[in-house]
Subunit: 334 residues, 2 copies
C-alpha cells in the first residue's frame, strides 16, 4: 500500500497583500472601476488608485492562499507555492501564511517588481471591487515547483487567476503533470470571467483531457465557460465532463454535481455583509476540507457555506472566527 500523502492540499496561487478601504458607489464610478470585478492594473494605475483610496488596512490575500488559510484553520495540512518579492509586503505575506500553519518555501524574488498587492474598494453593500497589481507574483518560475511536495499532497489546488501570466501558467501545467503522475486529485478554480475570456480554450482542453477532478466556478464563470446563460443549462452542459463540479451563487447558495450525484446548499444567513472579499475562496476551503476528510457531497457544500458566511462578516479574506468551532456541530453530527 502506498504511503498516505503528508499534506491534504498544496496550492499554487498569487501571493498578494490586500489593501482595503471603504468607498462609496460614487468613488467606484468616479475612478472608472468595474464594481464587483477584478481588474489587473499596472504600477502607475495602482499608484493612482492608491492615492485616491481612503485610509486603508493591509491584510494578506490571494485567492488560493485564502483557501489554504481556511483549510488550515479547519485543521488540514497545507502548503503554498507562490512568488513574493524580497520586500516588506513580501515579508507580511510570508509571515501570515506561515503563522497560519501553512508550509511556504518559495524563495522571495530579489528583483523588481514589488510584491503583488490588490487595491480593494469596499462599498456599503459589502461588494468588493478589486484592482490587482501582480508584481512579483507573475514571475513564479516553473523551477520553483517542488514536484515531491506536489506528489505528497492529496489535492493540488490551482487558481485560474494565475493562468493569465505566462511563467506561472507553465508552472501550473508542470504541477498538474506531477500531481497526475502521483495519482493525486487536481482541483481548479476558474477565478474570474476575464480569465475565461482569455484562456477558456485552455480550460476546456484541460477538462477534455481529464486533467481536472474538482472544478470550482461561480455562476458568471460557469456561463462564460459553457456559453449557457441559464444556470441549470450551464450545470447540465459542464457536469458530465468533470468528476466534481462546484458552482457558487452568492446569496443563492451553491450547487455541486459529483459523479452524477447532485446536491445544493443554501447560503448561511449573515446579519450584515461587511465585505464579500474571499467568499468564493473560503467556500472552496470548506468544500475541500470535507473532500479530503471523505465526507458526503452535501456536507462538503455545508462546510463551504459556513466558511463563506464567516468571511463576509468582516474586512479581509482570511478567517477571523474559529472555523473549527463554527463547523463543530456539523462535523460532530456525522
Amino acid at each position: 500500500m502506498a504511503t498516505p500523502p503528508r499534506f491534504d492540499v498544496v496550492a499554487i496561487g498569487n501571493a498578494i497583500v490586500d489593501v482595503m478601504a471603504p468607498a462609496s458607489d460614487g468613488d467606484v464610478e468616479r475612478l472608472g472601476l468595474a464594481k464587483g470585478g477584478m481588474t489587473l492594473v499596472d504600477e502607475p494605475r495602482a499608484q493612482e488608485l492608491y492615492a485616491a483610496m481612503g485610509p486603508a488596512r493591509e491584510i494578506s490575500g490571494g485567492s488560493a492562499a485564502n483557501t489554504l488559510a481556511g483549510l488550515a484553520a479547519l485543521g488540514a495540512q497545507c502548503a503554498f507555492i507562490g512568488q513574493v518579492a524580497d520586500d516588506q509586503l513580501g515579508e507580511v505575506f510570508a509571515h501570515d501564511i506561515r503563522a497560519g500553519g501553512i508550509g511556504f518555501a518559495t524563495a522571495p524574488r530579489a528583483a523588481q517588481p514589488a510584491t503583488a498587492r490588490c487595491l480593494i474598494f469596499v462599498t456599503p453593500d459589502g461588494q468588493r471591487t478589486m484592482n490587482t497589481f501582480l508584481g512579483a507574483s507573475q514571475f513564479l518560475p516553473a523551477d520553483a515547483l517542488d514536484d515531491a511536495l506536489i506528489a505528497d499532497a492529496a489535492v493540488l489546488y490551482l487558481e485560474g487567476y494565475l493562468w493569465d501570466p505566462a511563467e506561472p501558467r507553465e508552472a501550473m501545467r508542470r504541477a498538474i503533470a506531477a500531481a497526475r503522475g502521483a495519482g493525486r486529485t487536481v482541483a481548479f478554480t476558474l477565478s474570474d470571467s476575464f480569465v475565461i475570456a482569455r484562456h477558456g480554450d485552455d480550460f476546456r482542453a484541460l477538462i477534455a483531457d481529464h486533467a481536472i477532478d474538482i472544478l470550482f466556478a461561480n455562476e458568471h464563470e460557469l456561463a462564460a465557460l459553457t456559453g449557457e446563460a441559464d444556470f441549470h443549462a450551464g450545470i447540465a452542459a459542464l457536469a458530465p465532463h468533470v468528476p466534481t463540479l462546484v458552482v457558487t451563487r452568492s446569496e443563492q447558495g451553491a450547487h455541486a454535481v459529483s459523479h452524477g450525484q447532485a446536491a445544493h446548499v443554501a447560503a448561511v444567513p449573515v446579519a450584515h455583509v461587511v465585505d464579500t472579499t474571499g467568499a468564493g475562496d473560503l467556500f472552496a476551503a470548506g468544500f475541500l476540507f470535507g473532500h479530503v476528510r471523505g465526507l458526503p457531497l452535501e456536507t462538503c457544500l455545508q462546510l463551504g457555506a459556513i466558511c463563506a458566511g464567516e468571511i463576509i462578516t468582516h474586512y479581509g479574506a482570511r478567517p477571523e472566527a474559529d472555523l473549527k468551532a463554527l463547523t463543530a456541530d456539523l462535523l460532530s453530527a456525522r
Copy 2:
C-alpha cells in the same frame, strides 16, 4: 487683529504601522510580554515576536497620528510631523495619514532602519500588549520641523513617547518654542508610565515653566508623575500647575480640571470591547476637537468618550465609524 491659524492642530509623533493579531493570555505570558503595556524592542526582538505572532493585519498607528486621524474625521484641519523610512510601510503610513485629509510633508528617511512598527498582541479581553520597534521614527531631526506650520496651528500636540529618543526630543523642544513664540496652545500626552520613569524630571520642568497648556494622562501616568497613589490626590497635586489637565480612567471615564473648574464624564458603554489600542489617543482627539471649537469642558470630555468608545469596538487605532455622525447629536444639542 492676527490672522486666524490655518490649522486646528499640528502634531509631532511616532510614525508607526501597527501589526496586530489576536493572542491568548498564555501567548503573552510565554513570550514574556508585559500585558497591557508598551515595550520598546530592538529589531531582533521584533523579528522574534513577529515570528511568534499569528496571522496579522497592518493598520497605521502612532499615538499622536491616531489622535489627528480622529480630529480630521471630526472635521478639524490637521498636519502631522513624523519620520518614516523610504520603504513600503513608510508608504502605507504616509498614504493613510494623507488619505485622512491630514497634511504630512516630512520627507522619508533614505537610510536604515526601516519604518517603525508596533507588534500588538490583542487578548480576548480586548487588552493590547504593544511592542514597538521605533526604527526610522526615532531619527526625526529638529530641522525637519516647519516652524511656520507650527505657528500656523491653534494647537501643537506632542506625544510623550517621542520624548524618549534624543533627536525627536530636541525637535519637540524647538517646536514648543515655536508654538510659544506664536502664542499658540501646547498640548502634551504623557503616553506611558515608562516615559515618565525616564523623563519625569523633564516633564515636571516643562510644567513648572508653563510650557504645557493641556496635559493628557491616564491614571497610571498621573500616579507616576505626581507620586500620588490615590487618583484624586494626584489630580489635586497636578491640576494647580497646568491650565487644563485631562485624566482618563478606562471604563471609569475621565476627569478634567481646567482653570479651577472640574468636570467628569462616564465611559460610553460598549457591548463588546474588541481592541483597546488607541483608546487614549481617540479620547484626546475628541477632547481637542471640542477645545479648538471653543466648547465647554464637559462637552470636550463627552466628545473624548464618544471617540474612545468607537475605537475599542474594532481592531486598530484609526476610526472606522463616522465620528461626525456619532457626535452629531451632542454637537447639534448645543
